[in-house]
């Protein structure tokens, strides 16, 4: 094998210019894929981060059927205090859960004493919510995070009703029995709207939510959860599902359900589209590698017909001739991929330093932070190399099956 490697190297060295050109073509393909993967990955991560960190959290627990009737914000599909305690114990046991925030969601009317408008409001514990959705604080354009007796109003509502920070408003809601209740609140801040579910909600303190809904004991609409690492999302979702499935109603059916952000946000489809585009670019790389190697190896076989004839005549086994050509393809693919990966990494680092920003939804100047995980880079290098070997297969088989008499006669 060592000798075959040596000969394969020699053969590539013969046609220095062509070898370099092929390596360059493969490198360009790998660079394109790495850059695209890093940038699209960064965009995807940023997008997911904006959605999860601004409002959703990484996952949520609801009473079964709540999500399907989310538009009505039903107050009869809640998590009671006893169930919440049990749920808290489950979540506290899972080390990957960084924090969770209990929310009471409600729909109602907002009045500035002169005008009234519809509003959806989330009752939150500001401390917990700031951990679960860390971008909430940065969404507050004017004013500050709410305290008890205060409300954070969505930007569009304040514009429409000409509301300012510090002004008083009345929040009017129906409680679970249908009776109408109202509460005076002070505008603590104006919160920027974001695209997606609950992106245009106002926020009040969870104690105020309990008061305005005249609850004897707090009952929660949802629990938003933040994980240490979003990469463990599917694993933790499965784990929590398995645990809460044990909490059953009288009919023996599970009471609660877990939804990851993927099920709650329509942006998951965009994320999937980005993945699909990455796949398409990867297929393009495979095609580039395949065609360039195939072309080079076919040329190499035709140029060396007489040499193959000589090799066959002196007793070289077909398998060795095949291996020799496969090795050449392997080296072209390997060196092309490695060179491409090195240049690709340098370009990704350069892009990082270029501080490229984009606007997403209503958020501007979001920094794109391109990065490529090592395993993904290794996979791209491996796939390119394997494709190079596969592309060499047909010319290699052709060379190994060549009739020595015909080959020696070739001129």
């Amino acid at each position: 094998m060592g000798n075959l490697i040596k000969i394969a190297f020699r053969n590539l060295y013969r046609q220095k210019r062509r070898t370099l050109l092929t390596i360059a073509i493969i490198s360009v393909g790998v660079i394109a894929v790495l850059l695209f993967s890093a940038l699209s990955g960064a965009f995807k991560n940023m997008m997911v981060g904006q959605i999860t960190d601004s409002m959703l959290g990484h996952m949520q627990i609801h009473r079964k059927g709540y999500v399907s009737s989310l538009d009505n914000l039903p107050l009869d599909k809640t998590i009671d205090a006893k169930q919440m305690k049990k749920m808290g114990e489950i979540l506290d046991r899972i080390p990957r859960v960084e924090a969770y925030s209990k929310r009471i969601l409600m729909g109602g009317m907002l009045s500035n004493y002169m005008e009234t408008t519809n509003i959806k409001v989330a009752g939150i514990n500001p401390k917990d919510e700031s951990i679960v959705t860390p971008l909430l604080t940065s969404r507050i354009k004017k004013g500050e995070m709410l305290k008890k007796g205060e409300i954070l109003l969505p930007e569009l509502v304040t514009k429409g009703m000409n509301l300012k920070v510090g002004q008083s408003i009345v929040l009017i809601v129906n409680n679970v029995d249908g009776s109408v209740n109202g509460q005076n609140l002070k505008v603590a801040g104006i919160v920027e709207s974001v695209v997606g579910p609950t992106g245009k909600y106002g926020y009040i303190h969870i104690d105020d939510a309990v008061t305005v809904l005249r609850m004897d004991k707090p009952e929660f609409s949802e629990i938003a959860i933040r994980l240490n690492k979003i990469s463990s999302l599917d694993k933790v979702t499965r784990q929590i599902s398995l645990e809460i499935v044990e909490m059953k109603n009288k009919e023996g059916e599970p009471i609660f359900e877990v939804h990851s952000w993927k099920e709650l946000s329509p942006f998951y489809n965009i994320a999937k589209m980005i993945d699909l585009m990455s796949l398409f670019i990867n297929i393009l790389l495979v095609a580039i590698v395949l065609i360039s190697i195939l072309n080079v190896m076919i040329m190499a076989v035709y140029e060396r017909i007489k040499e193959i004839g000589t090799l066959t005549a002196i007793g070289t086994l077909p398998g060795k001739i095949r291996t020799m050509f496969l090795m050449e393809g392997l080296f072209l693919g390997f060196f092309g991929s490695v060179a491409g990966s090195i240049i690709g990494i340098i370009l990704i680092i350069a892009t990082k330093f270029a501080h490229i920003t984009i606007a997403f939804g209503r958020n501007e100047n979001i920094l794109i932070d391109p990065a490529i995980p090592f395993d993904q880079m290794a996979l791209i290098t491996l796939v390119s190399t394997i494709v190079a070997v596969l592309a060499s297969l047909q010319p290699a088989i052709k060379a190994s099956h060549m009739d020595p008499i015909e080959a020696l006669r070739y001129s």
């Binding site: 000798n3 075959l4 040596k6 000969i7 020699r10 060295y13 013969r14 007489k306 040499e307 004839g309 000589t310 090799l311 066959t312 005549a313 002196i314 007793g315 070289t316 086994l317 077909p318 060795k320 020799m324 020595p404 008499i405 020696l408």
Partner: protein
């Protein structure tokens, strides 16, 4: 003397479209070990076909062909390749040296591809053969830097690297002038004398066969005449 090649009623017919073209017709000939044999005849007389059969590059249409005791016509393609690697050395009319490899590398090539000889042994064998063929001082040169005679000397060295039992040379002097051709044939004879390897070559030039032991004359696929040459 022991026979190393035995051909009994060998025929070879090629198919050209719908027509059968006989290249060899009922050839019967034996070649003894260590002899220096030449097949002469005009182009198309069947010399190359005969050498291809002896060299296990091809199989006869009919007849019995034994090379060093093995019926090569009955061997599979792979086994014939192994047989060639172990027993046959080839010298070609066009030298067939690899242009991008040096003289040394060309001679070394069969040891890398066929025998997988360790490096130290390779160096020893290649240098020894280059010295015997008078090409040691040219070992770093590329084929394009050599004359026709020098190229064929390299080809002779390459044919002997794997220590074959038989060396087959198809028109080894066709591309050389008379003096160079004679020098190459003399070198082959010298190598035969030193190694005891059987040399079989074909030529259409009767002037250079003076040094051979046996001359077989071929015409239209038939051996017309076989004569032993007495060297006085």
């Amino acid at each position: 003397m022991n026979k190393i090649v035995e051909l009994k009623n060998i025929s070879k017919i090629y198919r050209a479209g719908e027509v059968d073209v006989p290249a060899l017709k009922d050839i019967t000939v034996d070649i003894n070990k260590g002899t220096f044999v030449s097949f002469i005849g005009p182009s198309g007389s069947g010399k190359t076909t005969l050498l291809n059969l002896i060299g296990a590059l091809d199989t006869p249409t009919s007849g019995i062909l034994k090379v060093d005791g093995a019926e090569t016509g009955r061997l599979s393609t792979k086994k014939r390749a192994i047989f060639r690697g172990e027993n046959i050395g080839f010298i070609f009319q066009d030298f067939n040296l690899i242009s991008v490899l040096t003289v040394y590398e060309n001679v070394e090539y069969p040891l890398l591809m066929v025998k997988e000889t360790p490096r130290e042994e390779r160096v020893k064998i290649v240098n020894a053969l280059l010295e015997k063929t008078g090409m040691l001082d040219q070992k770093a040169k590329y084929p394009s830097q050599l004359s026709g005679g020098q190229k064929q000397r390299v080809a002779v060295a390459r044919a002997l690297t794997t220590s074959p039992r038989i060396v087959l040379a198809d028109e080894p002097t066709a591309n050389l002038d008379h003096d160079t051709a004679f020098m190459v044939i003399s070198l082959m004879k010298k190598m035969r004398d030193e190694s005891g390897v059987t040399f079989i070559f074909s030529t259409h030039d009767p002037k250079i066969v003076g040094v051979v032991d046996i001359i077989h004359t071929l015409e239209d696929g038939i051996i017309m005449k076989s004569e032993e040459v007495t060297h006085g």
